[in-house]
Structures are given as structure tokens and as C-alpha cells.
């Protein structure tokens, strides 16, 4: 491909910027395809799907294998899933080309700006995605991807407190809210999410700060100190295992995701235990963290058409429902509301509030990208907390 003048300017400009900062730019040094966001065009309409295999990049156990098997059967291809553990690891691996995949299955909205600016995602061609019509209206034009050029939402979830309703009175949890995580009555049986954004945001919310993207050093430091207090006061555990630790009775109180209490009630209760033992609390004024994962096609996808077809497949109402029954994470698809899901016996009645309503979604606080220095401060604060 001949280098256009525009490409040349943008390329040399960026190289100069990077070199000026002192290091060898890892992206430019090793990326064989010197793409930047401006160069990328969506694929043409009406192309035949490739032969595969379609390569997905996702968290482990985050998509129903039955759903994947159906897609394989429908298009006569095989699907391979490459896994990552945390979002930042996914960015690193995509950025330096150490994984080669077609679909980024679960990108976090707060890192999309980096993936897009880094030329890692390609714009979608809506003609392959008719099932987008099934999405909730609130995701037509999301804040993180204006015009839905690059992404389609996969799941939506909120961060609250999962607890053992047979051991802790729901009225007490409702009354205390986030403060209950600082109540030594539950010492040794409490956990918070192992995620620096989630953990610090929770401490901010408890202190009455609703700016969960704050760059105010004093607020961040206070949140860090509050978290540190948990170490001795509560003998706090920091993990993302609430989905099984609550049903199994190891943890009584867990700062966790709405999807995890649903999957916990659905799949991890010991035989014969009633799902009503699991409770869910979310701020009564619906001012809490709401997040979602996004599907996107990578810029260097070898199977871009198949990738589009896969994304469209997951937006099919019946398929989205089947996927939900396996992982407990709500797809933002019309019709999958609490009434429907309870009637279908996917969600126990006592966890109705773990199914996000329009009001929860619209009032939800979102994790936005942080400026580099702020991000580093958040990370340092978290590192100080986990050091005990």
C-alpha cells in the first residue's frame, strides 16, 4: 500500500512525539501495521464470511459455550477463545501484537479511547449488525463511543454489595449501605473487589463523593486511608470471588458485581440451598457505579466479516437470553427486564434489584478514562492499600 501524505504526516508526527519522550515506542517498533485511527475504514457491505477460525479475546468463562457452539454450527466454522485476566492486560497484549484475535469480546469503556487512538479497533459496518435494533435505547449512542462507531455493548452490570440474607438482616444492610463494609461485626467475612477503580470508587462513594473519576489528591488519599482502615478493622479480603464465596458461605458481605450474585445464585449454591439466602444491595438513590463491557472488531482481524456476524449473533434476543442464563451478566437487550427474567426463573425474586433498570442505568456513575498522572496516583493508592 502506498503511503499517502496524510499517513506520512500523522506517522512521523507520532514517531517524533514518542522519540521526543525518550523511549523506543513499543507500538511503532513492533507493530507491522502502522495504522492509526484515522486510516481505518469499515469493511465493505455484503461480503462473504471467511472460513475462520474466528478468534475471540475474552475473560475466562464469560461467554456461554452452548452459544459459541451454536454459532460454530450455524456458520460451519470453529471458534477459538483467548483469555485475559484484567482489562489493562488485554490492552497491553493487543497493543504490542502479542495476541492475534478478531473480536475483542469485553473491552472496558474507560480504556476504549486508548484502543481507538492506538488504531487497535476498526470501525464497524452497521449493515452486518441488524440486531442492533434489539439494544436498549440508552446504548444507541453511548458516551464512550459516540455514534457507536467501534463498539456494541455486551453486558451491563452495577457494583454493589452481595450478602448472605440468612445471616444479615436486609434492613440492616439497607440502613448502613457502604458503611456496613466497615462494621467489625462482620470482621473476617467481608471482601471487596480486586480492582483499583472499583475499590477506590467504593470508598469515595462511602465518603459521599460521587465523582468516581476524581483527580483531587486529598480525596484520593482519604479514600486510600479509609481502605487501609479495613485491613485491621475488618481483616478485609481483596478478590473477585464473591460469585462463589457468598453462595458457599465463605463470605457474608462482598463488594461485588450484580452479575456475580445472579450467577452465584444460579450456579454456585450447594445442593438444596434456597437462592433466597443471597441478598443484593445497591444505593437506594441509584447513585452507584454502572459499567458495561463492549464487543469490537480488531483492526488486524483476519476474519472481519465473521467477527461482525458473531457480534450480531450475540445481539439476537434469544441468544442473548441464553448467554445470560449461563454467566448471569445482563445483556442490554430489550425485553430482558427483571419481571421477565424472574418469571422465566433465571433470577430469584429476592435478586430482582440486581437486574439493572433504565433508572439505574441512566443515573449510574461511569468510569471515565483518567489522565496519566491521576491514573498513576489511583494505582499507587491501591498499591499502598493492598500492601496492608
Amino acid at each position: 500500500m502506498a503511503t499517502t501524505r496524510r499517513q506520512f504526516i500523522s506517522r512521523s508526527g507520532r514517531l517524533g512525539l514518542l522519540l521526543g519522550l525518550g523511549g523506543l515506542p513499543i507500538l511503532s517498533a513492533c507493530g507491522s501495521d502502522e495504522t492509526s485511527a484515522a486510516d481505518l475504514e469499515p469493511i465493505a457491505d455484503g461480503l462473504e464470511p471467511e472460513a475462520g477460525p474466528l478468534r475471540l479475546f475474552n475473560y475466562a468463562d464469560y461467554v456461554n459455550p452452548d452459544v459459541v457452539a451454536k454459532f460454530e454450527e450455524m456458520y460451519g466454522v470453529t471458534v477459538e477463545i483467548t483469555t485475559f485476566d484484567v482489562d489493562s492486560e488485554a490492552i497491553t497484549k493487543l497493543a504490542n501484537g502479542s495476541v492475534e484475535v478478531d473480536v475483542h469480546h469485553s473491552a472496558a469503556p474507560n480504556s476504549l479511547d486508548r484502543l481507538i487512538a492506538g488504531g487497535i479497533l476498526q470501525p464497524l459496518n452497521p449493515s452486518y449488525l441488524p440486531n442492533r435494533a434489539n439494544l436498549l435505547a440508552s446504548y444507541d449512542d453511548p458516551w464512550y463511543d459516540p455514534g457507536s462507531i467501534y463498539t456494541v455493548p455486551y453486558t451491563v452490570f452495577s457494583s454493589g454489595i452481595g450478602y448472605r440474607a440468612d445471616r444479615i438482616d436486609p434492613a440492616v444492610v439497607a440502613e448502613k449501605g457502604w458503611d456496613i463494609l466497615w462494621d467489625p461485626t462482620y470482621k473476617g467475612a467481608t471482601s471487596i473487589l480486586d480492582d483499583y477503580r472499583e475499590g477506590i470508587a467504593m470508598a469515595l462513594l462511602r465518603a459521599g463523593v460521587t465523582d468516581v473519576n476524581t483527580s483531587d489528591e486529598a480525596l484520593i488519599k482519604q479514600a486510600g486511608d479509609d481502605l487501609l482502615e479495613l485491613v485491621d478493622l475488618m481483616n478485609i479480603k481483596v478478590n473477585i470471588e464473591g460469585y462463589k464465596d457468598i453462595p458457599e458461605g465463605i463470605t457474608d458481605l462482598a463488594h461485588t458485581w450484580s452479575g456475580d450474585v445472579i450467577t452465584g445464585a444460579y450456579s454456585y449454591l450447594p445442593e438444596g440451598t434456597d437462592p433466597s439466602v443471597i441478598g443484593w444491595w445497591y444505593p437506594a438513590d441509584n447513585v452507584g457505579v454502572v459499567n458495561n463491557d463492549c464487543m469490537a472488531v480488531t483492526a488486524n482481524a483476519a476474519n472481519p466479516v465473521l467477527a461482525h456476524l458473531y457480534i450480531n449473533f450475540l445481539l439476537d434476543s434469544a441468544i442473548a437470553e441464553e448467554n445470560f442464563t449461563w454467566n448471569g451478566y445482563l445483556p442490554p437487550i430489550q425485553g430482558l427486564d427483571a419481571d421477565y427474567l424472574i418469571a422465566a426463573e433465571y433470577v430469584p425474586e429476592n435478586l430482582a434489584s440486581a437486574v439493572l433498570t433504565d433508572d439505574v442505568i441512566s443515573k449510574g456513575l461511569r468510569f471515565e478514562p483518567l489522565e496519566l498522572e491521576t491514573d498513576q496516583l489511583w494505582e499507587q493508592t491501591w498499591s499502598t492499600f493492598t500492601a496492608g
Binding site: 513499543i26 459455550p65 483467548t82 450456579s267 445442593e271
Partner: protein, 289 residues
Amino acid sequence: MSVGGYRPGRRLGPLMVITWLYVLWSLLPVLIAVRISFNSGKSRSSFQSTSMRWYWEDPASVWRDQALQTALSNTLKLAVLTMVLAVPIGVAMAIGLQRWRGRASRAANNLMLLPLVTPEIVIGVALFLVFTQIYSSIPRGFTTQLLGHVTFTLSYVVVIVRGRLLSIGGQFEEAARDLGATRMQALRLVLLPQLGPAIFASFMVVFATSVDDFVISSFLSTGASSETVPIKIYASARAAATPAVNAVATVMLVVTLAIVAVGGLAIWAYRRNQGATLGSAAAATGIGG
């Protein structure tokens, strides 16, 4: 204390008790992990009832999930090839370092020890950087994982073999040379047989380290085609894991046992054939007693 009693015997001494208690202790969790693989539920800790669900019924089971099978074969291939490369290079290096004198030897000796003081995650990150930026012509994935595993197991072999070399001392080999054996003969007929247990220990440690490693493998993995069982286990321990990972670990255990049993039989048969030859060679060089 019975430590000084010097006849091997069947007497039930404290040492024997400690050893068997240890064996029990070390095997118990393995048995638990195997039992969980037969759980009919999705939980890895609360056992519901016995079933083969995670072996072949469930879509996520070992039999039906292609990815688990790929991981299994990758893990075993990696471990075997790592042994084949790391043990000979390491044994040669141990013998070489033992004889090689001077400043260069000291430098090589210190260099050999460095990977031991380096946490796996560091080797993982460092190798990842050089494979993406310097040795970028090496195909990433399985090949780089193999190179990584050999690098970080090599020093184990050297340390184990040197421990043995130091306690053997040079006198047997010197005796053999004095009696007219060539350097190679002395090495092959005298030294290597005496290194047997250390070489055996090296094979085991290298195999185990390779099978256990997930840090280096995951840094150097390029996707589904180069994932290993530990990567699968680690990933699923963070997410909603099923007993399918226990099932794949169990299959790995059984396959390994089968390979070891076959290998053990082969060595046993070889020893029976070679016993006479080795014995006479040793007698001929005067070190039989």
C-alpha cells in the same frame, strides 16, 4: 535418634513415619482435586454428587471443549521438549563449570545462578520484551514458550547436578583416566552413571516446573493455540470456574503417570541389560568396590 543407624531395614523408625506422613500430606490435596473433577455441580468446592459431566457431558468438558484439549497437549509437549533440551545442556554445563577454571568460569558460574534469583514474572516480562522487540524473527507462541521454559529450568539442572558432583569428587574419574580410559570413556562409563540420581532428579524438577509454570507461558502465549493447562487454571480461578479445570488436571496426571510408567519400565529393562556391562567396566577400571 535413629539417624545414625546404618543398615537399611524394615524397622518402623521415626524417619519412616515422617516420610510416610509426608507422602500422605502431599497426596491428599491431589486426591481432593481429582475427586472434585467428578462433581455433578458447577462448584469447585462443594461436592454435590458423582458424575462424568466435566469429562464428556458438558459443552465445557474436557471431551467437548477443544480449547482444553489444545491446552493439555501444549502443556505435555512443552514439558517433554523442555526436559529434552534443558537436561543435557544443564548437565554439560555443570560438568564444564566444575572443570573450567579462571575468571570466565566464575562469570559463567554466577550467570548460571542468576535465573534462580529471578522471579518467574520477571523472566516472563523480560523474555516477552526481547521476543517482541529484538528476536522478532522467532515465531511467537509455542517456540518462544519452549525457549523460555528451558531458560528458567536450566539453572535448576546445573545446581542439582553440581550438588552431586561436589559430593562425588574428582577421584573416580581421575582413577579411570589413570587406568587408561579416554576422557569420553571416563565421562560415559564412570561419571554419568554416578550422576544418575541427579539426572533423574533434574528430569523430574524440569518436568514439574514446566508443567506448573503459568507466568512465563502466559506472557509468551499468543492466543488460544498456545494456551496451557496452568493458564486455563489460573484464568478460571479468577473467573467463574468449573470442575472442568480439575478434570483436565486429572487427565494430565493420568497421562503423565502413563508416560512415566512406560519410561520407568524402559529404564528398568535397559538397566537389566546393561547391568553386566556396567559392572564389568567398573571392575575393569578398578572402582567397582
